[in-house]
Structure formats: structure tokens, C-alpha cells
Subunit: 346 residues, 2 copies
DNA sequence: CGGTGAATGAGGTACGTTCCTCAAAAACCT
DNA sequence: AGGTTTTTGAGGAACGTACCTCATTCACCG
């Protein structure tokens, strides 16, 4: 019933405690045969090391870095805050968490920033960045030197990262499409699509998902070419305003990136707020307000706290060679409407 | 930078380690004045006790009980499994988790079952039960003997429970209402409402939320009197079938409780599957399938894993007198449609 | 002022692990 | 066989806390 300890393993394997320790911590100087014997005893007894005691003993200080783009969106601010908070909590126990803010869309700057903090060994790294060869190579190097790596929000499927912490963006786009289609009703019309950049993988995926669903299930809705807002409020407002006055029959707007304030600005100026169905991403102070006043009808969201906790948990699990709880680490595609809005966190 | 230890507190307060220990663990034999001095040192240095080391030292085995009704719904089975799994994971570290399955709608049996396991002291208890005076008194007694108590899924607002782990059911009903209204379109019609029992608080709340939203925003939809299915597939099928043949113009069904299989049975037999908008609760194997084949259009769900983790975390935090992370413990009202369905867990 | 009981201190052991040293044993090589 | 290297064992200290005992000090009382 009680959990076996290293002492039990030693007894079971017929070796000394020192040898068990050498095996457990992959220290050299143990015959292959002995390693096997110990591992067998471990599986036989179902030993799992007491991480708490281990960390206590080794006084380990994990060193983690979160690499985030220097974008002033409310979502990223919330994410930074969430990371800071999580780092202070029990998941961040015994660890130092650096947040590296790097210029967006500049992979070289990102690589430099990460390498600058490699003077001390880095145990784990969470990277949010567009998919580029530079970043992929960085991940390869980090992994080679033993750093655990997760990708955050935007995946790098080509890189040997340990895990992706974020949502399936095609599914998110599909979800947005269904909501738009259902909410807009049966009359034909056009859908304006606002993205951060057409070069960002997540934006492309979301748009792709949207188009799939519209074609399949809402053929009376026609999606317009992507408008690029570059996560900037004013720019977003200008491009969407231009689009709205050029096109008639825009019945819905899907804003897949940041800069959502620009979207609501444009709608309000055009007198369209509440008359055009809007689906946006990420719950922020602004999207919350817009949901409440009826300018935005649904928000697709990934919880910043969950992202931060999950990233840190996964990194620690990888380092300690522990299993991860798939169910817990799966980031959900939250659908938020006015009625199921979580109460604001003070 | 490094966290202060009890030794630092002792030095800072000018007392011995033994005294600090007495204060920290609320042991008797310390003058009020000294307690104050120690507490002051604690806040001054910002000491937080190292729970891992503490648990290691005291070899504490928490004893928890989850009290669940003996209902054979897929959701409850999933919840039982989730609890078992969580108990094995890091959150359940050093704790024994009992799952008491008690006859539904029988508060006396529930009370007896809980009291039967009180021969050994119980550190924490999570209760899922209808709101009754018997349960309230049980909570009072448990609290009095020092057991932490949370209510699960259904709250007992009158009882001195430490925390409620679950969703706001009025908001869940409102959410369901908006989805029904949006999905059903502008044509007038009737909404059938299936509940487990009209005596269960959560069912009443959900129905209330639904009616609020329909009245406010979808006055062309008229909700019919609640049908009671008592979480039973066959009974549910019968009452809903009867309703569907008695009423014309039923354009939507809201099933607020378990027995969802009875709902889809009735719709299929009546040839209405896919032609009537259906909103159900809880993601199970069955509701997943029905979402995929178009019989159900949206599912309002609370994640069983999250419920289990949250309940256990909150109980432990209360016992260790630690703060809880509100954001993490807030159970979300998940809206699931075909497009944002999480992949099935094997 | 001495007596008494309460308050405090000093010190030890334990929890499960890491990490270290030094000695002993075993394996390997010519 | 002897010597060398590799492998193993034995033991101890440490991490931060809990909990125990016993001795000492203190405050208060009459």
C-alpha cells in the first residue's frame, strides 16, 4: 500500500542504496547488467520517485524562460501576468522564470535573446513565435543541450519540441465559422476576416478552418480576402473601415488576431455595431465589454492562466521525466458568449 | 531571494525553533505575546512554509471522501474515474481518497454513509447531493470536527461549506437558452425542457436561466413545462416522446440533466433527429457521438477532470491553510459544438 | 520570597532523496 | 598470478519541517 522507497528498491535488486542512486540519476560507473536489475526492481515494485523529497534534497532551482513577442495586446499582457503569477505559485515552486520579450517577426532577435540567457544552464523554455527555420534550429540546439522545450500558442511542428501548449487553430477557425454562420442567420452575405498577418501560421490556420466550415455548411456566406491589422488598433480600424465602405452586405466579421479594439472602433464609426455578427479571439477587458454591450457576439478563447500553468507543468514533467496528464494539459477552445462569461478577476 | 525557513523566523523573532514550531502548528503552551512576535516575524520575512518538506516530515496521509449519488449516468462514471485518476496523480499525493456511492435522493442514507467512515478522522469531504436540511446539518457537524468540506456540482448555499466546486447553473441555463435561440432561428416554436427532477436545485436553476433568456431575447420561443426523467434513459424517452406527440411546433429540446440517451432515442423514433435543435449537458461518449452525427447541436459541459482536481486541490489548500488560486478553481461553463470537441481520451 | 506551573530552549530523530567520500570487492588484462 | 581498472558498498551530511523529550527559565501567586 505505501509507496516503495529507494531502500526497498535496493533490497529488491540486491544492491546497495548507492547503486540505486547511481542508476536513478543516470550517474556513470554501473554495469549494464546492474542497471537492468535495478530497473527491473523499480518496475516490479512500481516505484515512483518522491519528487518533493528529491527537490528538497538537491535544492534544485529550475531555470525557465518564456519567450514572448513584444506585442502590446491585452491578451499578451494577461499572459505575461499569468506567467508571473504561476511562477509564484506551487507550480513555480523552486524555479526561476524569466520572461523574454522579443521584437515580433524578427526570428534573429529572438534567437539572440534566448542565447543571451544561456550563460547559466536553462532547464526549460517555452516559445511563442511564428514558425521559421531560425526558431526551428534554435529548438534543435536547445534540445541538444538538454533543455526541455514547449511551443506556446503557435506550434513549430517541424521542430523537435517536447510539447505544444495551445489550441488547434484550424478547429478554432471552424468553431468561429459555425458561430458566425449560426448567429448570422440564413440571409446571404459576406464575412470580413481580419488577421494579424497572413504570414503567421496560426492566422492562416484559423482562416482555413473558417473557410472550410463556411463552404461546407453555410454556402450563402462568402468570406472576403484577409485584412492584415498587424495587431495594431489604428491600422486594424483603417483597413476594416475601408473594407466595410467598399463592400456592401457584410453581415459578419471574424477577427482572428489581436487589434480587436480596431475592429469595434470601425464598426462603431460605421454605425454597424450590434448589426453585424462579430466573433473575436481571446477574452480581455475589451472583448468582455464588447460582449456585454453586444458589439461582439462570441469570443473564442484560450485561458491565459491555463496556458501558463500547462507550459510550466509540462516543462517540469519533462525535466523530472514524469508522465503528463493529457486531459489536464489539453488546452480547450473556449466559446464565450455574454451568458457564460466568467466573472472578471479583480 | 531565497525563501526564509523556520530557522530564520526563530532568529528574527528572537525565540527558539521549538517555539516557532509550536506557533506554526498551533500547539499549546505559548504566551499570546510570543505568538504575536512570531507571527510578526513571519509576515516581516514573508515566510511561507514548504509544504513538500512538511508533508515529508509528518508523513501525513490525508483522508478524503467524495460522496456521489448512485446514478449510472456516463457523466457520473466519468467523474468517478476522474477522481480515481486524480487521486493517483500528484494532487492526490499522500492521500487516501474514498468514493462513497450513496442512493440518490435519500439524504439519510447519505448521512449514514459519511458517518460510517468517520471512525478514522476525515480531513476533507466533497459532497454532491441535493440541497436538504440533513445534508446541511451533516456539513455543520463535519466542519465542527475539523473536516474541510466542499460541495460538488450542486451547491449547499445554506451550509457552512468551505467552497463550491461547480458552475453557476443559472448562467448555464442562460447559456443554453442563447444557443437554442440562436440555433433555432427566428420562426416561432416551442421548447421542450427535460430535467432530472424538479426538486433538484441545479435543475431548477438551469430551467430558470433558460426561461430568463428566452423571455428577454427570444420571445418567439415558448418553453413547455419541465419533463422529469429521473436520470433514466427509458423514462426520459417515454416522457419526451409523449410530449413530442402531444405538442406540435417543438423546435428545440433542452435537456438539463442526465438521461440524454432517452432524449436522442425519442427524437430518432419520432423522426425528429437533426430537425429539432438540441442542447444537452455534459460531454460523454454518447453526447459526443450525438454532436458528431448532428442529433445534438451543443453541449454545456463542466470538465470532470477539472472538477475532481479542483475539489481535491481546494480541500488540501484549506487543510494546509493555503490560499487558493481563484482563477484556477473557477469551473467554466464550457460550450461544446462539433467543431471544438476535444479529441476523445482513449 | 519561595513555590508552582506555565513558557521556552536545546537537542535529537525522522521523512525520502541527493550527493559525496572512501574502502572493498569484483572484473579484466597481460 | 599480479596489477589495474571498474564496479559496488557503506556511511554520512544535507534539504526544511514535524514532533518528541527533558531541562531550564520565567512569571505569577500567595
Amino acid at each position: 500500500m505505501v509507496r516503495p522507497t529507494v531502500i526497498d528498491i535496493a533490497r529488491e535488486a540486491g544492491v546497495s542504496l548507492a547503486t540505486v542512486d547511481r542508476v536513478l540519476n543516470a550517474r556513470p560507473g554501473v554495469r549494464e547488467k546492474t542497471v537492468l536489475a535495478v530497473n527491473e526492481a523499480i518496475t516490479r515494485l512500481g516505484y515512483v520517485r518522491n519528487v518533493a523529497a528529491a527537490n528538497l534534497a538537491r535544492q534544485r532551482l529550475y531555470r525557465f524562460a518564456f519567450v514572448l513577442p513584444d506585442v502590446q495586446s491585452q491578451f499578451l499582457q494577461a499572459l505575461r501576468m499569468a506567467i508571473t503569477e504561476v511562477a509564484r505559485g506551487p507550480i513555480g515552486e523552486a524555479s526561476e522564470v524569466l520572461i523574454l520579450t522579443v521584437p515580433p517577426r524578427d526570428p534573429h532577435a529572438l534567437v539572440r535573446a534566448v542565447e543571451d540567457c544561456l550563460d547559466q544552464p536553462l532547464d526549460g523554455c517555452a516559445i511563442m513565435a511564428n514558425e521559421t527555420p531560425e526558431v526551428r534550429d534554435l529548438v534543435v540546439r536547445l534540445k541538444a543541450q538538454g533543455t526541455a522545450v514547449v511551443t506556446l500558442i503557435t506550434d513549430q511542428p517541424q521542430a523537435p519540441r517536447d510539447h505544444f501548449v495551445g489550441i488547434d487553430n484550424v478547429a478554432a477557425g471552424r468553431t468561429a465559422g459555425v458561430l458566425l454562420g449560426r448567429f448570422a442567420g440564413p440571409a446571404p452575405g459576406k464575412v470580413a476576416v481580419v488577421v494579424s498577418s497572413m504570414l503567421a501560421r496560426d492566422m492562416v490556420d484559423r482562416r482555413f478552418g473558417l473557410d472550410l466550415v463556411l463552404a461546407e455548411r453555410f454556402p450563402h456566406l462568402q468570406s472576403l480576402p484577409s485584412l492584415e491589422g498587424h495587431d495594431d488598433r489604428d491600422l486594424t480600424e483603417r483597413v476594416l473601415s475601408a473594407c466595410l465602405s467598399a463592400q456592401d452586405q457584410v453581415v459578419a466579421v471574424y477577427t482572428a488576431g489581436a487589434g480587436t479594439r480596431g475592429v469595434t472602433d470601425a464598426l462603431r464609426k460605421g454605425g454597424l455595431a450590434g448589426r453585424v455578427v462579430v466573433v473575436a479571439h481571446e477574452l480581455t477587458g475589451h472583448t468582455r465589454e464588447a460582449l456585454l454591450d453586444g458589439t461582439i457576439h462570441a469570443v473564442i478563447s484560450q485561458d491565459a492562466g491555463h496556458l501558463a500553468r500547462s507550459a510550466l507543468r509540462v516543462l517540469r514533467a519533462r525535466i523530472d521525466r514524469l508522465a503528463i496528464d493529457e486531459g489536464q494539459e489539453r488546452i480547450r477552445i473556449d466559446i464565450l458568449i455574454r451568458e457564460n462569461l466568467p466573472p472578471p478577476t479583480s
